[in-house]
């Protein structure tokens, strides 16, 4: 009976996720189709001229590249496109004339790489800081962290990135200002390449991390303070447990629970910020390609990337939902 209920809950979650993705995808499809100018006609013309074929043939080629027939009415186009989407085809880049999948295959790993490390760092350090200042209320650390958090909250992420770029890349020249790795090196599991990758990723990671540490610290501080007031902390002290132990296993493990739900949310927000930060650092992740698509009115790519971003975030939320019960036994539905 319990297991049945758990499964029902899960089915509902997955359905909701799928529904979300579908709705977002559909809305973006409709929006893009409103875009002014008939790109397909231009493309067909170009192809017809370049390859010396008739407009109809050219159009057929455009149609096969794009995944749907641009001349058919909206609903038909939509259904064709949806079928392609369900097969995993994220669409067609109007500028590059290749499938979006090919672009994202190159770009997505970089974004995920930088975001994951940044999230881990900012969360890890932030949570530790938050815990420390929750316990030591009168130290110098508390006002410093709070001021830092206010300052980074006031500074949009792209400004943080800009400042880092100006200071460390352009003035001090300690870090490169563009690219994911030194183009002279050959990609592979060799040390120079890995070092170069890390070197290039440092400033973007730093931009995200510096921006978010303050928020995590303050959130954890709040959570830890409320846990500290709980009876079981006093009881643990009454039993003669060491303060250190109480801090990690009693305060820490309980205070961190509300933070975990924030992780998936933060991941989503960072995807949004990736457009700005990767642009500032010329870092070839999906954010950068999104900006590139914007500049060249490549709606196909924008649409594909937006859908991909949505999928990634929805997946992250699902995973967080899956992981959370493992941490908080009160939420588990065991049979």
């Amino acid at each position: 009976m319990e297991r049945g209920r758990t499964q029902m809950r899960w089915v509902r979650r997955v359905l909701l996720a799928a529904l979300t993705i579908w709705l977002v995808a559909s809305i973006t499809f409709v929006v893009v189709e409103q875009a002014p100018g008939d790109i397909f006609y231009l493309m067909a013309q170009e192809i017809a001229q370049a390859r010396g074929v008739s407009i109809e043939v050219a159009y057929a080629q455009v149609r096969s590249m794009v995944g749907y027939d641009p001349t058919r009415p909206l609903l038909d186009r939509y259904l064709e496109w949806l079928r392609e989407l369900l097969r995993g085809n994220l669409g067609f880049s109007y500028f590059y004339r290749i499938s979006v999948n090919q672009i994202l295959f190159q770009a997505l790993p970089w974004t995920v790489f930088v975001l994951s490390i940044a999230l881990l760092l900012s969360f890890g350090i932030g949570v530790l800081l938050g815990l420390v200042i929750a316990v030591r209320r009168r130290s110098w650390l508390d006002p410093m962290v709070t001021s830092y958090a206010s300052l980074t909250d006031a500074t949009p992420d792209y400004l943080t990135a800009l400042l880092l770029l100006i200071l460390f890349a352009l003035n001090l020249k300690w870090f490169p200002s563009k690219g994911a790795y030194d183009s002279n090196l050959s990609p592979g599991l060799n040390l120079p390449f890995i070092l170069s990758v890390l070197h290039h990723a440092t400033l973007p990671i730093l931009a995200y991390t510096l921006e978010n540490i303050g928020a995590w610290a303050l959130a954890m501080k709040g959570s830890a303070i409320s846990v500290l007031g709980e009876d079981f902390i006093a009881f643990a002290r009454a039993q003669g447990l060491r303060e250190r132990r109480i801090l990690t296993h009693y305060v820490g493990r309980n205070a961190i629970l509300p933070m975990v739900t924030g992780l998936a949310l933060a991941f989503g927000g960072m995807f949004g910020g990736s457009v700005l930060i990767e642009t500032v650092f010329h870092y070839p992740g999906i954010g950068w390609f999104f900006k590139f698509a914007l500049d060249h009115r490549d709606y196909g790519m924008m649409r594909g990337l937006l859908i991909l971003t949505t999928v990634a975030i929805v997946l992250a939320n699902l995973i967080a939902d899956l992981v959370y019960p493992l941490l908080d036994p009160r939420i588990r539905m065991e049979d």
Binding site: D231, F232, A234, R237, G240, N254
Partner: protein, 336 residues
């Protein structure tokens, strides 16, 4: 009877910043003999919980122990140890090993993310290294003493147990290190009457079997009647009366005690003549002059308003009232 703990002139102050200072425990002295079952009775705000917390030096800030001595005779040396003179590290060692305290409100006293077995292991390991199996054995024994089934309870998380079960787990945990003194703060509040009776039974059993010294804090005189052999009545941070239970119930010498007894209806007795004590406990930032109970006392006179009564020895009891003789004569006895 040999004393286990001697509390002398204990004073606990709360520093409330611009709201002033509050003396929650004002010169409290009492003895706890080895193997005794003593009840400390008072309304909320009387200072009884603070007194208990002071015994293990865990008064929460902004409170602090501002005076007195806590003489501990349990070390079986010639001289007692003043617990207030020990360093924090030394005190930490003694907590639970010598004195264990079960808090009020079992709902939140256990860590929600740890299984009971884990928490009991934490308790033991904080005091001595012991192999896991031994600890679990000991834990199982303690759980059986409170009539809980170890195989079921050890695996569980706190939220999977009922309120009564959690309370019993707390008691079991308090027995893990075989302490000399067990303090229980309102162990039966927020539990239904049947569970209450159950727990009190268990407490009596444990005390008899293990020869522990028990200090039970409560506001409920019915609980006192069923468990304690001696009662301490606390009001506004001071002890106002102390007597063997039977003697106290039969004839209270302090007006407050009398008021408490009159406020409690019995199952058989009629409700006429039952009334709560008028008024409310005083604000301890500005306690009333003289006897602290005088604003609510039917016997109060000019002397009561000016002179604070001392705790006098009268036979087997102590009482702090200028007019205890009158009270003793006039109060009808309350049969248990």
């Amino acid at each position: 009877m040999k004393p286990l703990v001697q509390v002398r002139d204990l004073r606990v102050t709360f520093d409330l910043g611009r709201h002033g200072r509050l003396i929650a425990v004002d010169g409290v002295s009492f003895d706890l003999a080895q193997g005794e079952f003593v009840a400390l009775v008072g309304e909320s705000g009387s200072g009884k919980s603070t007194t208990a917390l002071a015994l293990i030096r865990l008064v929460p800030p902004p409170g602090f122990i501002s005076g007195g001595r806590l003489l501990w005779w349990g070390d079986s040396k010639g001289e007692p140890v003043d617990l207030l003179q020990l360093s924090e590290a030394q005190m930490r060692e003694r907590r639970w090993r010598d004195i264990a305290m079960v808090f009020q409100g079992a709902q939140n006293a256990l860590n929600p993310v740890m299984r009971i077995a884990e928490q009991m292991m934490e308790t033991v390991r904080a005091h001595q290294a012991m192999p896991r199996d031994e600890i679990l054995d000991r834990a199982a024994r303690c759980l059986r003493m409170v009539r809980l089934e170890p195989s079921r309870v050890l695996r569980a998380y706190p939220h999977e147990l009922s309120g009564g079960m959690r309370q019993r787990v707390l008691i079991a945990m308090s027995l893990l290190m075989s302490p000399r003194l067990l303090i229980l703060d309102e162990p039966t509040t927020a539990l239904d009457v049947i569970t209450q009776a159950h727990i009190l039974e268990i407490l009596r059993e444990i005390q008899e079997q293990l020869g522990l010294t028990m200090l039970l804090l409560t506001h409920d005189l019915a609980v006192v009647a069923k468990t304690a052999r001696r009662v301490l009545i606390m009001y506004a941070g001071q002890i106002v009366e102390e007597a063997p239970t039977v003697t106290l119930f039969e004839s209270p010498y302090h007006p407050y005690t009398r008021g408490l007894l009159q406020a409690v209806p019995t199952l058989r007795g009629d409700l006429t003549g039952k009334r709560p004590i008028p008024g409310a406990p005083p604000d301890l930032r500005h306690p009333p002059p003289g006897c602290r109970f005088h604003p609510r006392c039917p016997y109060a006179d000019e002397m009561c308003r000016r002179v604070e009564p001392e705790l006098e020895d009268v036979g087997s009891r102590r009482v702090a009232c200028h007019h205890w003789r009158r009270v003793a004569q006039e109060a009808p006895s309350q049969k248990l």
